[in-house]
């Protein structure tokens, strides 16, 4: 703890990194915090965040029902109830009391034991930490809280983090309660170009952190924290003001204090509110009672963040209160400033326009005239044409403003059934990025086919014409018998896969790599196109193709027979090899697996064997 630095830098650090400071304090749980912090210097440099952090659950700034829910889950975990989850995830924005409530409840529930809670710190290996934590049962029982994470931006670390959690969920013995605190953050980036999906790199949410597989697991309970309601924040702040009234607040006019509390209470972040209040009051108390400057201090506060769905909602439904306060209440003005507000948060409007296209239909529950819809789409289309990356001013805004002005003129008749609309039509995230991913996948597949098998035919001819006819020809029994190809071989699907409908999702799309890889693997095995490309690729790259393909193509058809390597190469491959080499006037290489071949091929046999085993298992499932 910095001891001599009681200057302003120390103060500011406290405000910027209140969390850091708190974490450092935490290590020594049983020492009362107040003493530690008091040692710094005087009351003014002591962080109120720590000083007034709640000491028992009744002081928590939390909706009582949320608290009782949380208590129920946690006590069932501590006492090993029948349906107790093995992992509890608390998630929500910052400063809404996730870890504080977890800690206080842990104290409440495990009163007997000396340490009621242990925390993970980044210095340890997470895998080891979880492994050791497993034995915190019985007399040693305590709550395991994970609030810091290993460096999940490093992909292997992230993977091992997820794996160890997955393992935890499958342990069949009594486990101590494990709690994850996830402060969800959506990073805003200006360029949504090329962003194909959301992952841990650009978004920190439960799904990106632990993966969908874990987050939807039955043994996992999730409790979502919302930003704290203004009334709770105000109550807490007023309590604080009360107790600090002697030192600071007696020098500040009451009206100004309450005005300030009103303005910072909106953000829903208790930590930042208290920090702001402390900073403001220290500065304010040094100024004379009536001072112009006091107003300027208002600007220090947490910026309210307009998320994408909120922004889309604002454009589609309009807004009733305007963002800038000072202009007239003319409906036109409100619209104008609402959109100005939205545009300032979303400087590049590509994503916004795509979301509008995806969502304009929710207005009035798709109950409006097709002509209006046409105008909307027309505006968006114009917006796309005019609104390139270098577009300025009106060119850039035409799409977005167009949508608002048309929907504004249609007029909503939904106010009456406001209660029902939310559930039926929620705002969707544009599927554009999913489409791009699919597009890229298909493109690379066709390109590979073009490169390795059918060179000299244009990409579009392959996709549009060959991609459809070829499988039909190759799969026909007549063609197979004519060309001496065994009927057992797996079939060709359409080049690039079948046409499939893609729908937008609610909420942010999360890349689920595990699922995708699985899908990919299955497709690769049953699609002859893939096998053919692979064969050619291996031959081209000078790999030991004879051994490599054997495991992939033919033996799948005969999963119950013993896997005999020599028989595994189909006539198809042989034909391929034969004719391939014929054109080069070389004796065709045999397909036998002789002792003379090197170690490489041996390991290949192993790998293909494993793959086969897995396939067989899957088919039996």
């Amino acid at each position: 703890m910095s001891s001599s630095d009681e200057s302003i830098t120390d103060d500011t650090e406290e405000f910027i990194l209140p969390k850091k400071r708190k974490l450092r304090v935490k290590e020594s749980r049983n020492v009362p915090k107040r003493d530690l912090l008091a040692s710094t210097d005087g009351s003014s440099s002591t962080s109120w965040i720590d000083q007034y952090s709640p000491r028992n659950t009744s002081e928590l700034c939390l909706h009582p029902r949320k608290l009782s829910d949380l208590r129920k889950v946690m006590s069932s975990m501590v006492n090993g109830g029948a349906n107790a989850p093995k992992l509890l995830i608390l998630h929500g924005p910052s400063g809404c009391g996730k870890s504080t409530s977890a800690k206080l409840l842990a104290q409440d529930l495990i009163a007997s034991s000396e340490t009621s809670l242990i925390e993970y710190t980044e210095s340890n290996s997470f895998v080891e930490f979880l492994h050791d934590a497993r034995y915190r049962v019985g007399y040693n029982k305590c709550v395991i809280l994970v609030e810091e994470y290993p460096n999940v931006f490093h992909e292997p670390t992230h993977q091992s983090f997820k794996d160890s959690l997955w393992e935890w969920l499958h342990i069949d013995e009594p486990l101590p309660p494990l709690i994850l605190c996830v402060t969800e953050v959506e990073h805003q980036s200006d360029d949504n170009h090329g962003r194909e999906f959301f992952n841990i790199q650009n978004n920190w949410t439960v799904d990106t952190l632990v993966g969908k597989r874990i987050s939807n697991h039955t043994e996992v309970a999730k409790v979502k924290f919302n930003p704290i309601a203004m009334t709770y924040i105000k109550k807490a702040l007023n309590r604080l003001i009360q107790s600090e009234s002697k030192s600071v607040f007696n020098r500040i006019p009451k009206s100004e204090t309450s005005e300030f509390v009103d303005s910072i209470g909106k953000c829903g972040d208790i930590r930042s509110s208290i920090a702001n209040l402390q900073f403001w009051s220290t500065m304010r108390s040094k100024l004379p009672a009536r001072d112009e400057k006091s107003m300027e201090l208002y600007s220090i506060g947490k910026e309210t963040h307009l998320n994408l769905f909120h922004a889309v909602g604002k454009i589609i439904y309009g807004s009733t209160n305007n963002a800038y306060g000072e202009v007239g209440d003319d409906e036109f003005d409100i619209d104008y400033f609402t959109i100005l507000d939205v545009l300032s948060t979303y400087p590049s409007n590509n994503l916004l326009q795509l979301s509008l296209l995806e969502n304009y239909g929710i207005f009035n529950n798709v109950d409006f005239d097709i002509e209006q819809a046409t105008k909307i789409v027309d505006n968006l289309s114009l917006g796309d044409v005019l609104g390139g990356s270098s577009a300025e001013g009106a060119n850039k805004e035409i799409g977005i403003r167009g949508v608002r002005s048309i929907l504004g003129s249609v007029g909503s008749h939904q106010t009456m059934s406001k209660g029902t609309k939310g559930a039926a039509t929620s705002i969707k995230f544009p599927r554009h990025f999913k489409i791009i991913r699919e597009y890229n996948r298909i493109t690379s597949e066709i390109r590979e086919y073009q490169k390795y098998v059918r060179s000299g035919i244009s990409f579009q001819d392959l996709n549009l014409i060959y991609g459809f006819y070829e499988p039909k020809i190759y799969n026909s029994i007549k063609w197979k018998t004519k060309n001496g190809i065994p009927n057992t071989r797996s079939n060709y699907n359409r080049l690039g896969g079948k046409f499939k409908e893609i729908y937008p999702t609610e909420g942010l799309p999360i890349a689920d790599l595990e699922e995708e890889e699985e899908e990919e693997r299955l497709r690769a095995v049953y699609d002859q196109y893939r096998i053919q490309i692979k064969t050619q690729m291996n031959e081209g790259a000078g790999m030991d193709h004879e051994t490599d393909d054997g495991g992939l193509s033919d033996p799948i058809e005969e999963s119950d027979s013993d896997f005999d390597f020599d028989d595994s190469i189909g006539d198809m491959e042989l034909n391929n090899i034969l004719s391939q080499t014929k054109s080069q006037q070389v004796v065709p290489p045999g397909r036998s697996h002789v002792a003379g071949s090197d170690g490489d091929s041996d390991s290949d046999v192993f790998s293909s064997d494993e793959e086969l085993d897995e396939l067989i298992r899957k088919r039996n499932l």
């Binding site: 326009q353 097709i370 599927r431 000299g456 081209g540 054109s583 070389v586 004796v587 290489p589």
Partner: protein, 408 residues
């Protein structure tokens, strides 16, 4: 088991060979899955079956031993490339068919690696600019410069090789001190790439001959048109297509339900018609039909195998015709995205959709058809100006719904 030592040797052989041409593939491989399209592709000018005057001109061109830069254009499946290769065959001999693919990498100014394929023989190379995206100008300039500067060395090497191996063919080689560069899909070249090409064409005209292939000349700038010999290959007529098909049918002993010659011809012409006189499509379609049936029954309904994406667009047009609501617009969007994700070009979707709509409305209703086509052309323009095609496709669908609604 019995083939022990023998196999060992062949194995060695095969391995050697594979190592020697890393990443290059001999196109002989493709004949393993030989389709009729490949099997019956004419290899020399004499084998070409239709457009006799063009063939004659090409023969005359080849006989001089030299030729100017060419711009060969015409609809897909009319045999542009076949004719070019046949001409090159005439010029250089069978060596032109020893094709291999090289993967070239190019580092762009923004330090991004770009990979593209070059198909080449000792006498020519073939590139597709759409592989290169926005960098086509730099890539093509670089590549051509490369070819032009290394040509001399390459050529003399080859000469010696040929002389050493086979004295007779060297005479043919020495005549052509140039290398041919075929540029596929030349109409997709960006404007500045085309502008850059025009200088390159003059600068290296002594040792490079360009053959550009495109579907139309409308996207090609005038200076290039004026520096090239334009060769138009029109689509074959239905009779010509059916002649090719019946030739194949005889060779492959395809069985028809009736031996009646005119009936068969009528059937083959139906195929040609349904495939829009695209010979490649017609041959694939015919092979598909004959593979699916032991003997082909000759009613005309049997002569169509529609492409899957065409079927999807046709259903889309029906849905637009019958259900003109905002809710349906959302369903239409699903289909558009489905097609786009499968790499179907947006302009192809727009065109096919427009034609389906026009056909369903009836060509004689000139007012509606006129409006539809005018809206279609507006959005076609926007497709090429804009960035995200979904806006414009949906815009077209919405506008055509309005037109149809009003016409009711």
């Amino acid at each position: 088991m019995s083939k022990g030592p023998n196999a060992f040797f062949t194995n060695l052989f095969g391995r050697n060979l594979a190592l020697s041409d890393h990443l290059t593939l001999l196109l002989g491989a493709k004949f393993t899955m030989s389709l009729w399209v490949d099997k019956y592709r004419p290899r020399s000018l004499d084998q070409l079956s239709y457009h006799p005057t063009i063939t004659q001109n090409l023969k005359a061109l080849a006989s001089t031993g030299d030729f100017p830069h060419l711009l060969v254009y015409g609809p897909t499946g009319s045999g542009k490339k076949t004719r070019i290769y046949a001409t090159l065959h005439e010029l250089f001999g069978p060596g032109i068919e020893k094709l291999k693919i090289d993967v070239k990498t190019f580092v762009t100014s923004s330090n991004r690696k770009l990979e593209f394929n070059v198909l080449s023989s000792p006498y020519h190379l073939e590139i597709t600019p759409s592989d290169m995206g926005n960098n086509d100008r730099v890539v093509i300039q670089d590549l051509l410069k490369d070819v032009a500067s290394t040509e001399q060395v390459d050529f003399t090497n080859q000469q010696q090789q040929i002389k050493g191996a086979n004295g007779s063919s060297s005479a043919a080689g020495s005549k052509h001190r140039f290398k041919v560069v075929i540029i596929n899909e030349a109409d997709s070249l960006s404007r500045d790439a085309q502008a850059a090409l025009r200088r390159t064409m003059e600068k290296y005209s002594s040792n490079i001959r360009l053959i550009m292939i495109s579907n139309t000349t409308s996207n090609i700038i005038a200076p290039i048109k004026s520096r090239t010999l334009l060769v138009r290959i029109p689509a074959p007529s239905t009779q010509e297509v059916s002649a090719v098909l019946s030739h194949i049918a005889k060779k492959e002993a395809v069985k028809f339900s009736s031996p009646n010659e005119p009936e068969i011809n009528q059937f083959l012409e139906d195929i040609a018609h349904n495939c829009e006189r695209n010979l490649r499509k017609a041959m694939l379609c015919f092979e598909t039909i004959s593979m699916q049936n032991e003997s082909i029954s000759l009613n005309s309904s049997n002569s169509i195998i529609k492409l899957d994406w065409e079927v999807i667009i046709e259903q889309l047009s029906k849905s637009i015709l019958t259900n003109r609501t905002v809710a349906n617009l959302a369903k239409v969007r699903v289909v558009f995205y489905e097609l786009l994700s499968h790499c179907i070009p947006a302009r192809v979707i727009l065109k096919n959709l427009l034609f389906c709509l026009v056909q369903a409305v009836g060509v004689n209703k000139s007012k509606i058809v006129g409006e539809l086509v005018s809206v279609g052309s507006v959005f076609d323009e926007r497709l090429s100006l804009g960035q995200k095609s979904i806006f414009h496709l949906e815009g077209f669908a919405a506008k055509s719904m309005v037109i149809l609604e009003k016409a009711k």
